[in-house]
């Protein structure tokens, strides 16, 4: 079973009224300052075809995800942060490196208790997407992401070696979509039940 997610970018100077309509019409998470490379919104559970009336949308970067693994530690999660990292593993990366990278990512919640619910998924569509993986987490507070996650030695001392252009074992392209937004419910619960 797969699910879909999209990163939505508005046109420059988007009409505030139509943006409000857009926010009402879909379950959109408005990205917080500090997000990188992923536009203005995360749209979890987007359906095809995209509903009409989105004239102020410049781009919808849609991905279809196939779950590798995840954990729903708190099925009653009621906020407040959902984070998505879309990344591309280089096509010439050795299969054993990709497997080790995936194992390392999935070990992060063991070392960073601030990660509440999480999934790691392969991007399986649409054809032509630049992304290969989606690494998603939910946190009770923004500090869980910005402090516990980012400043963990497990992150900078181990995981980042797969991303770092100075490291011989880098396999992940430098261009990422690192986005996060407030939420009052678990987006990942639907993927994990």
């Amino acid at each position: 079973m797969s699910r879909k997610l999209a990163l939505v970018t508005l046109v420059e100077g988007a009409d505030p009224g139509r943006v409000t309509e857009l926010e009402m019409a879909a379950v959109l998470g408005r990205h917080l300052p500090g997000t990188v490379g992923g536009g203005h919104y995360t749209w979890d559970g987007i359906d095809d075809p995209i509903p009409p009336g989105f004239e102020d949308v410049a781009d919808i970067d849609l991905v279809e995800l196939s779950l590798i693994d995840g954990s729903l530690a708190d099925p009653e999660f009621a906020g407040e942060i959902k984070r998505t990292l879309l990344l591309r593993v280089e096509p010439d990366a050795p299969a054993e490196s990709v497997a080790a990278f995936e194992r390392d990512l999935m070990a992060m919640p063991d070392h960073i208790p601030a990660i509440v619910n999480w999934t790691l998924s392969r991007v399986v569509g649409p054809s032509g997407t630049r992304w290969t993986h989606s690494w998603e987490q939910e946190y009770y507070a923004l500090d869980g992401l910005k402090v516990d996650y980012m400043m963990s030695p497990h992150h900078w001392g181990l995981i980042d070696g797969w991303f770092d252009p100075e490291m011989p074992r880098q396999i992940v392209d430098l261009e990422l979509a690192h986005v996060y937004h407030p939420t009052d419910r678990s987006v990942l619960a639907a993927a994990l039940v």
């Binding site: 980012m150 900078w156 001392g157 980042d160 252009p165 100075e166 011989p168 430098l174």
Partner: protein, 112 residues
């Protein structure tokens, strides 16, 4: 709380290319590393004399003050495409290269 972080580069160099790699590091990396907040603490050669038929390893020990400085270093290197290009040039002279990150692991003082 992690304090000072050491960055250990181990460059295992093909025979006959030690001076080439030393020059690359001195002329192509050190100024940029300093600008990214890295302090060069020490350099070593092992085995401690240049070999002619086997690789030698050059070891560079750097430091940054803390995790925030580590991310500043990492972010600056990621934004500068010449850094990856530099390491590709070094790697062409090496049979192996490793970078490790180290934190203090001194035994706790008695009674603490």
């Amino acid at each position: 709380m992690v304090g000072k972080i050491h960055v250990l580069d181990e460059l295992t160099v093909e025979p006959g290319r030690l001076n080439e790699v030393r020059r690359l590091m001195t002329e192509g990396y050190m100024a940029g590393a300093k600008a990214r907040g890295m302090t060069l603490e020490q350099t070593w050669l092992t085995p401690p004399i240049e070999l002619f038929d086997q690789p030698n390893t050059l070891v560079y020990l750097w430091s940054v003050p803390d995790a925030a400085a580590w991310w500043a270093m990492r972010g600056a290197a990621g934004r500068d495409p010449s850094v990856a290009g530099f390491w590709a040039e070094v790697d062409a002279c090496c049979v192996d290269r490793q970078r490790r990150f180290l934190v203090d692991d001194s035994p706790a003082e008695e009674g603490r």
